[in-house]
């Protein structure tokens, strides 16, 4: 076996090992989740940090996504005299796809970096060892509150992004293509069916679990020094973002096949 093959083999083994460790951590999250009541203060604090403080970011992200979507589709639909369809496109686009995906990606970066750097710094300064040494489980004290806070907060944040996108799309369509505001709003809301709402609501819940658990995992496995902490923060954001994109595709495909 040459050096390159050996390196690939080690790298592959490490990835499998990481996946196994992540699975064990997720199993611990499920096993220890009944303890959530004991850690409700931490959950509330995390809800504020990863939820309330992210409102402005998702608001801006959602708003401009809706505006751009309306402008781009509007100019194409205009060629066919179908500008009345912009509201449908913006509504479906925001609720089913772009709202959850953009919010997921923004929160993967924001929450992912926060969780990994926070828990990673605790690992490097022996605070995690202190928890274990005093008989506490770090998954229960650090991971579960963050996962629950994300599960609770990501859906409202996505709804804010969706609403900002639709409203942004509505105003820009009114200004650019002279579409009546009331017509846009009524069409955008009334065309939505259960399937669309289900897809739009389920995705953020799915994303939140993976973003929070992946970012906490990368924090917990931080070793060495600050360089590794930086690397793990990058891995955390990249992995979470990839998972968001992949799950978005899989979920959309599955829902279209089934529903």
């Amino acid at each position: 076996m040459n050096e390159d093959e050996s390196t690939i083999k080690v790298s592959f083994t490490e990835k499998i090992q990481k996946l196994q460790d992540y699975s064990l951590m997720v199993a611990d999250v499920f096993r220890l989740s009944p303890s959530i009541g004991k850690n409700r203060a931490s959950v509330l604090s995390e809800m504020y940090l990863i939820g309330t403080q992210a409102v402005f970011l998702v608001l801006v992200g959602g708003l401009f996504t809706g505006v751009i979507l309306a402008i781009e589709t509007g100019h194409n639909l205009e060629k066919f005299g179908a500008t009345l369809m912009i509201s449908r496109t913006v509504s479906y686009g925001m609720i089913r796809e772009l709202g959850p995906a953009i919010t997921g990606l923004l929160l993967a970066a924001r929450t992912g970096a926060k969780n990994t750097s926070e828990i990673g710094a605790m690992q490097l300064s022996e605070q995690i060892d202190a928890l274990k040494a005093f008989g506490l489980n770090p998954v229960e004290k650090l991971v579960i509150p963050r996962v629950f806070a994300a599960l609770i907060m990501f859906l409202p944040l996505t709804m804010i992004a969706d609403m900002a996108g639709i409203l942004g799309g509505m105003f820009i369509t009114n200004m650019t293509f002279n579409i009546d505001l009331a017509y846009f709003w009524n069409t955008a809301i009334h065309i939505l069916q259960f399937k669309d709402i289900f897809v739009g609501a389920f995705k953020p819940i799915l994303f939140s679990f993976f973003i929070a658990s992946i970012s906490c995992f990368y924090g917990l496995i931080t070793r060495g020094g600050t360089t590794n902490l930086g690397k793990n923060a990058i891995h955390s954001v990249v992995t979470s973002s990839m998972v968001v994109i992949l799950l978005d595709f899989i979920f959309t495909k599955v829902v279209w096949e089934i529903m």
Binding site: K38, Q127, K132, K141
Partner: protein
């Protein structure tokens, strides 16, 4: 109270602990002394169960704990407390919150009782009046005393200290050493890891000298100073040259 039997541990293919055996009686202060990188802190981590061992047994109060499942191991650790070299204080919590953290989590005491315990233990370590401060607002010595307070508040039977005076100025160092000595009066078993010979002589009822992951000498300081082992004689070179210290040790043991 604490017994290590033939502990061996390899990390990344390197032998870190080589058949380490130790026995520490209840209420005793035992010092593990050796140069940097000898494996001193690793022994503490093994006692705490933070590192899985390859061979051997860790027996606390007659119970073998190294092979326990994680849940039971966490329970077993609750009779121990540790003061890390880096203090490992929770930087987002105040002095009183840091001190009360593990007590609150145990759920055994009412808030009033927790407040009372925190107040008592902060007074014991001379940190009265600092309750609302955060760790980054404290000096190095105060941080160390807070770490001791956090360890003491759960009333553990065993406290482990990792390099308790490293990085402290002489005044703060003396304050921490006095604090550790006062723990004897309340019957706590202490295990101290250090490379500072004077601290070891001052605190230890018994000592173990470790070199390259192997305990090469164990016993009272008087016994250790009689050792003919080349490393021990080199390590204690300055003590052999200090006749007044040698006389003091001789007098103490007699």
């Amino acid at each position: 109270m604490i017994e290590l039997k033939d502990i061996s541990l390899q990390l990344n293919g390197k032998l870190i602990l080589d058949e380490v055996s130790l026995s520490i009686d209840k209420g005793q202060t035992h010092v593990i002394l050796g140069p940097s990188g000898a494996g001193k802190s690793t022994i503490l981590r093994v006692i705490l169960g933070l590192l899985p061992i390859d061979n051997g047994q860790v027996i606390i109060d007659g119970r073998e704990i190294s092979s326990l499942p994680e849940k039971e191991a966490l329970q077993a650790r609750r009779q121990m407390a540790v003061v890390f070299q880096s203090n490992a204080l929770f930087d987002s919590l105040t002095v009183s919150e840091n001190t009360a953290y593990f007590l609150k989590d145990s759920g055994l005491l009412e808030k009033k009782e927790i407040d009372e315990s925190v107040k008592t233990v902060l007074s014991f370590v001379n940190l009265d009046g600092t309750e609302g401060l955060y760790p980054d607002q404290l000096s190095g010595g105060m941080k160390k005393r807070l770490a001791v307070a956090r360890a003491l508040v759960t009333r553990p039977q065993i406290i482990l200290f990792d390099e308790p005076t490293t990085g402290l100025d002489p005044i703060n160092s003396k304050a921490v050493l006095n604090l550790i000595q006062r723990l004897k009066s309340i019957g706590t078993t202490s295990v101290i890891v250090t490379h500072i010979i004077n601290d070891a002589i001052m605190l230890g009822d018994t000592l173990s000298i470790i070199e390259n992951g192997k305990i090469i000498e164990s016993g009272t300081i008087k016994k250790i100073l009689q050792s003919q082992n080349g490393f021990v004689r080199e390590f204690f070179y300055e003590v052999y040259q200090d006749s007044s210290l040698l006389n003091e040790i001789q007098a103490r043991d007699e």
